[in-house]
Symmetry: C2
């Protein structure tokens, strides 16, 4: 008996966020591997479920659907320790989630996709993404000074959302060598989630 079905692509950090959340919380679910690159999100049977043609997609037990990685994660995590009980800390968690989608995913995930999957590196777009990504990473490094996690003193949805693409940043050409707080935090969250160590593979491992 599963609570829901999760359509996702294992090479997408966005898709792994709700997957890791459900696993962390011990919620049974069916994972349906759905390759974006292979066009599976554009097939009629998928578009019938999600006209947006995007993963992750959650289909609840009653057939209703949910989109947007961070929204699905928040839905699954409601009432759990992954959402801070304190109102101010909860607002900080939301701030990180919105920042992740606006200022982090748009450069770190995008550059990783271009470099590791499309072999596009060194052009003007790449340099812009590199500059923006390094700014985002530096902000994370400073924010983690003296802290184990981004909000309060425990793992929250903010960490899950941010680790998804940060742990793959080296595959996008980002150097984490001068960011000890970020590196230690990645290892900490990977350990908490039981997802192994991702970083520092060559780009070809994603080919």
């Amino acid at each position: 008996m599963t609570n829901f079905t999760l359509y996702g692509d294992s090479i997408s950090g966005n898709c792994l966020k709700p997957k890791w959340t459900a696993e962390r919380l011990g919620m049974p679910f069916d994972w349906r591997e759905t390759s974006v690159v292979a066009g599976e999100t554009r097939k009629p049977e998928f578009l019938a479920l999600n006209p947006w043609g995007q993963v992750p997609l959650a289909v609840l037990a009653d057939g209703r659907t949910l989109t947007q990685s961070n929204a699905i994660m928040l839905y699954l995590a409601e009432g759990s320790a992954l959402i801070p009980a304190d109102a101010y800390e909860r607002a900080q968690m939301f701030a990180w989630l919105f920042w992740e989608q606006y200022s982090h995913e748009t450069c770190i995930a995008v550059r990783r996709f271009r470099v590791a999957f499309l072999n596009l590196k060194g052009d003007d777009t790449d340099r812009t993404l590199e500059t923006r990504g390094n700014t985002a990473l530096a902000h994370m490094e400073a924010s983690l000074a003296g802290r184990g996690y981004f909000v309060g003193d425990a793992l929250s949805c903010a960490d899950i959302a941010l680790v998804a693409y940060t742990r793959w940043a080296p595959d996008g050409g980002f150097d984490l060598g001068s960011l000890p707080n970020v590196r230690a935090w990645i290892a900490r969250v990977e350990n908490d989630l039981g997802i192994g160590t991702a970083g520092f593979q060559p780009a070809t491992s994603f080919g």
Copy 2:
């Protein structure tokens, strides 16, 4: 006696979101007009409050700060009717908030700023923003079919977030003429919020 201080720029839809939310909920606050274009978010006294150098910024009564427009809005709206009580509807609201920051603000707000403030129109970037923005607007039009609001049957944070830049879309060169659902929804939300009619001014009105 005010609950908090809100630093914001009145020409920024992101800044107006928490302002409208507080007004809607009757929460007393001090508004500190802070011009991005005039460099006021880069002054030392502002950076001392917010090292990110961004508005909106909320400074709570105890001095703690909050960033990110949608996160501040959610903090202010907690426990109010602006956040749906039903868990599924709440998740839908979150999905619209993340979609707004990823797929709407990044084209509709950005194009409006380029066209209305920088007089940049017709270049390659403008055409890309136009295409993306029209896709976002078409999605809103379809989603509003037979509905008064984006989630459930009442005004929520999703509407406040989405209306902020959608009502100014014509100033960015977007034509809402073929989007009757969007136009009716803008008027409905403007009326609910008591903020008057924004749309369809010439670009020079922002000069």
